[in-house]
Symmetry: D4
Subunit: 168 residues, 8 copies
Amino acid sequence: MSAVVGIVMGSDSDLATMQAAATICQEFGIEYEMRVVSAHRTPALMAEYGQTAHERGLKVIIAGAGGAAHLPGMLAAYTPLPVIGVPVPIGHLQGVDALMSIVQMPGGVPVATVAIGQAKNAGLLAMQILATADAALQAKLIEYKQTMADESQAKNERLQASAKNIEQ
Amino acid sequence: MSAVVGIVMGSDSDLATMQAAATICQEFGIEYEMRVVSAHRTPALMAEYGQTAHERGLKVIIAGAGGAAHLPGMLAAYTPLPVIGVPVPIGHLQGVDALMSIVQMPGGVPVATVAIGQAKNAGLLAMQILATADAALQAKLIEYKQTMADESQAKNERLQASAKNIEQ
Amino acid sequence: MSAVVGIVMGSDSDLATMQAAATICQEFGIEYEMRVVSAHRTPALMAEYGQTAHERGLKVIIAGAGGAAHLPGMLAAYTPLPVIGVPVPIGHLQGVDALMSIVQMPGGVPVATVAIGQAKNAGLLAMQILATADAALQAKLIEYKQTMADESQAKNERLQASAKNIEQ
Amino acid sequence: MSAVVGIVMGSDSDLATMQAAATICQEFGIEYEMRVVSAHRTPALMAEYGQTAHERGLKVIIAGAGGAAHLPGMLAAYTPLPVIGVPVPIGHLQGVDALMSIVQMPGGVPVATVAIGQAKNAGLLAMQILATADAALQAKLIEYKQTMADESQAKNERLQASAKNIEQ
Amino acid sequence: MSAVVGIVMGSDSDLATMQAAATICQEFGIEYEMRVVSAHRTPALMAEYGQTAHERGLKVIIAGAGGAAHLPGMLAAYTPLPVIGVPVPIGHLQGVDALMSIVQMPGGVPVATVAIGQAKNAGLLAMQILATADAALQAKLIEYKQTMADESQAKNERLQASAKNIEQ
Amino acid sequence: MSAVVGIVMGSDSDLATMQAAATICQEFGIEYEMRVVSAHRTPALMAEYGQTAHERGLKVIIAGAGGAAHLPGMLAAYTPLPVIGVPVPIGHLQGVDALMSIVQMPGGVPVATVAIGQAKNAGLLAMQILATADAALQAKLIEYKQTMADESQAKNERLQASAKNIEQ
Amino acid sequence: MSAVVGIVMGSDSDLATMQAAATICQEFGIEYEMRVVSAHRTPALMAEYGQTAHERGLKVIIAGAGGAAHLPGMLAAYTPLPVIGVPVPIGHLQGVDALMSIVQMPGGVPVATVAIGQAKNAGLLAMQILATADAALQAKLIEYKQTMADESQAKNERLQASAKNIEQ
Amino acid sequence: MSAVVGIVMGSDSDLATMQAAATICQEFGIEYEMRVVSAHRTPALMAEYGQTAHERGLKVIIAGAGGAAHLPGMLAAYTPLPVIGVPVPIGHLQGVDALMSIVQMPGGVPVATVAIGQAKNAGLLAMQILATADAALQAKLIEYKQTMADESQAKNERLQASAKNIEQ
């Protein structure tokens, strides 16, 4: 089966951040592809990737970039698919420059922006998008939420147990 | 037919910003509903809205709020649906506080954030999400892009025409 | 005797920051409880915690969270009790996102915000709040201020002593 | 009966912002006093106000100031009472300077900071603090929350009614 | 004679800002062209403009855009020519988002960024660039500096004259 | 001879930053005193220090503090002497909070603010202030400038020497 | 008698801000001069002004500029006199750029920076500097402080009077 | 052959940042010179450097500085040549102060600003400027772009190869 999620990054140095999006796809059993495509260094490839993504069967694009981060917005310029943008925290401004460059898109060309460095949430958002037409995937997302809740409660119980020990 | 997009705002004063999302739904022929649901003033209603949204047939939620904007993130906590967040520029910080409160969600609970005040893009993003399983809608989005391109080129032609007049 | 101060955090990773609030309660002999309650991962538990806090005998809630920090404001939405918010400095923005998400609450639902990472001050503020109806506790706070002043003067004396040595 | 809430501001030009705190006190039937006391222009009066506040029967101090806003923190240095700080948005920085000057207090001397310009919330926070020892006041706060919820729902109904008219 | 400076903007609403660059070209007698070319709405035209600019005889490109301003950086991705970027102050962030999106370019693809809204300086920078191989143009620039100095001194004389009148 | 420069800091943890001001006084042969005086922990001592400084023979006060840094401004409220403020970079905001709290003083009560962490410049500014009535001190300042210039030129010569080596 | 305070601004458009410094000089009976001297447009005049200021009898320089505000720092590079910098709030960044450009001077070359737009405080700071060697001027400054205190107390009395009327 | 690019920095501590500009000149075979010239410590040398640069055969100046970075703008005040400014990230503000001080130049005196710490791009921009009159150099720049594209594609191939290994 071919990829339905495209995970694209401007440089392989972004992989440490972007891997988390791939991991989510794996956990939910969704086919994905990963690409280094640079808006600034390979703009023609970037354009081609954006223009053909929906024809190749992709449903969602996740794009991560840092600094003057143009990759998510430029892919959004070329594709009718939803594009999820991940601000990658490189350089001296902790990702604020990337956040501004990704989220402040003009009317007509949205990019669905997640938190600085939060490729995991980009992956989950892709799952939620696909789940709008896939009841089984939506069920997995509900289960995922339940697991998070259970883990949070387990942390709470451990905290209370250790707090009681302290107080005794 | 019942609504597939829920447009929710924290106060009716956000309507001036959020109306643009509804207008996009109308232009693309997608059923939507609009609600004032406040995370801070009607938290129980907000919880119920989030918990039942996918059961009532909604596919995407668009939520707008200003200041310490908790509505998008809290709906995302309750629903398995994709939630699109619109930072509404109220108060003294031009929407930067709302942007921070919406985009910086922790791992596990994404909010697809658009630009400050950009409810139009929230609407378009909802269309793109629905179009992942609706070829006709995707075709409309491709057409929409073409119209934007045509309008941009028309602006270019007018600019060049007027520039030539100036230069003569 | 049951807890009168509830110290709540979104994740056990916030404990390193929030412990200082518990330490203050211990120093002043005020019963407290600590909980991991996540606005985003266990929203129903969070709602229940907020709704029942005053019925269970709590007088003040201290809530710490990072990033898009919704826990303090959401607890404030549910409880009539004063809620003290501690912006926890996680992630790439040094707690500025948490500060914005906690302090910029809309009219009707205040959160008493302290400095980024300052759970100690959250504890002291809780003591001051309880002391408005507890003269003995107020006396301890006055004594606490005196101790701080004494320690500051002792630092001054040490500085002057060492400065004299340098100058000789 | 004497005042239990002291509302203090650095200049009478802050009155337009701070009046909302007084209005809350009036609505909840709590005695208050209002004072212009400047940390920078009348520091001795400010010190005296802070030192004697709890002796005069005050339970909570609300202090508003703009720019390098030292009034809330300096009152907190002198008084064992809880001090609520309101960043007043004057000058060229929209109150960000006042927010930094009020919220970032060092360990030992907390100021309960509310949103920029949100004196209404300062008043409500004072009510919540007093209500920790006043069941009747707490009941009024619960009622106040209910009224806010009702008003929010009424807004929702009006929005839905008008939306239906538009859609027909 | 054909244009050597290309002045490009993302939308005709940027013309009020960008006109100043054209005015400088006119003052210095340098041929220019003005275009509306949108990175987001007409990406293919933008790519073509960038790819062919140096072949058509252009020597410098001035590009202005606001918000998530990708136009200068994307033209720089396509062209070997120097690209001057003008952050246009639209929207809620006073051009800070545009500045971040334009100036923070990654290694390999520079954009020569000027102040927010300073298209006049973009024009002058283009003149300075062309003057590196045009002694007559450099002479005009030196003369331009002298005129600025003269005007500044004239302002000084008027100020001193009026100050003397006040003091008498 | 008694001290003419008072170097005051909110805590002995500020000494690492503030020592540089003392070193300048030593280099220029100006008597100084160092004190830990806290606006928040020993406000009465701070007030007394400010009120009596000019009577004790001090000519200039240098005050350093971090976070919600009130010490410089509060000393300025009490003293007719010029107060130089040094924002100390503690906590999570790199001294931006201290800078805002020190520089944004209201009309009537100036604080001469230097760069974040720049106690050396605070010392030099104190020397410049004293030199307005001390020709010998002014001569030393002119000499100091010359030494800086010489050191800068020496760096330049070393750079050029090493650059030539690289280029060969 | 010749001027002892030099008030310098980058452009006559800064006069509206800088006039307040002159007014303070007039109120305190100190001779001053006002000049338009631009670091960027008349750098040689600026250099000459800085180099000769102390020889012409000036004791303090007040310099105001906006944007990339280099005038105060460059004058400080040339003169041994204390230089007071006033960030003038022009352009799109409300004076934050000017503040950064003025206050963040490197070691060796201080600029005494006041609040954005606060030329009045620059004037007062100049008076305080001159008063370090002028007892009569210091007495006037003490009187000035007393007048501010009296005016503040008068505001307080008016507020209390009007508040009592409201409460009756 | 004499230098055509002048690389100037305020201190030799900036060399670690600025070396990258020299490396680009070497790669493209363009003669350059490197100087430590400080606007604040050697203002007269700086003025002379700026005034004589074009007479000595320089075509472009690259200037790097940190903090209140006046060197690029002051050189631009003196020279008719294009000046490229590099904000050097020193001190507590990550280069934001330097960026503001360099990019926000007033009308009439542009500085071509690159990203914080991006001296490599300053070098490339200088090459692009020289290439406007040097077809061979432009050809090298086109080749340089192709090399970047090839390297980016190689990274993409390695990523895809390793991703396939993971997925197997």
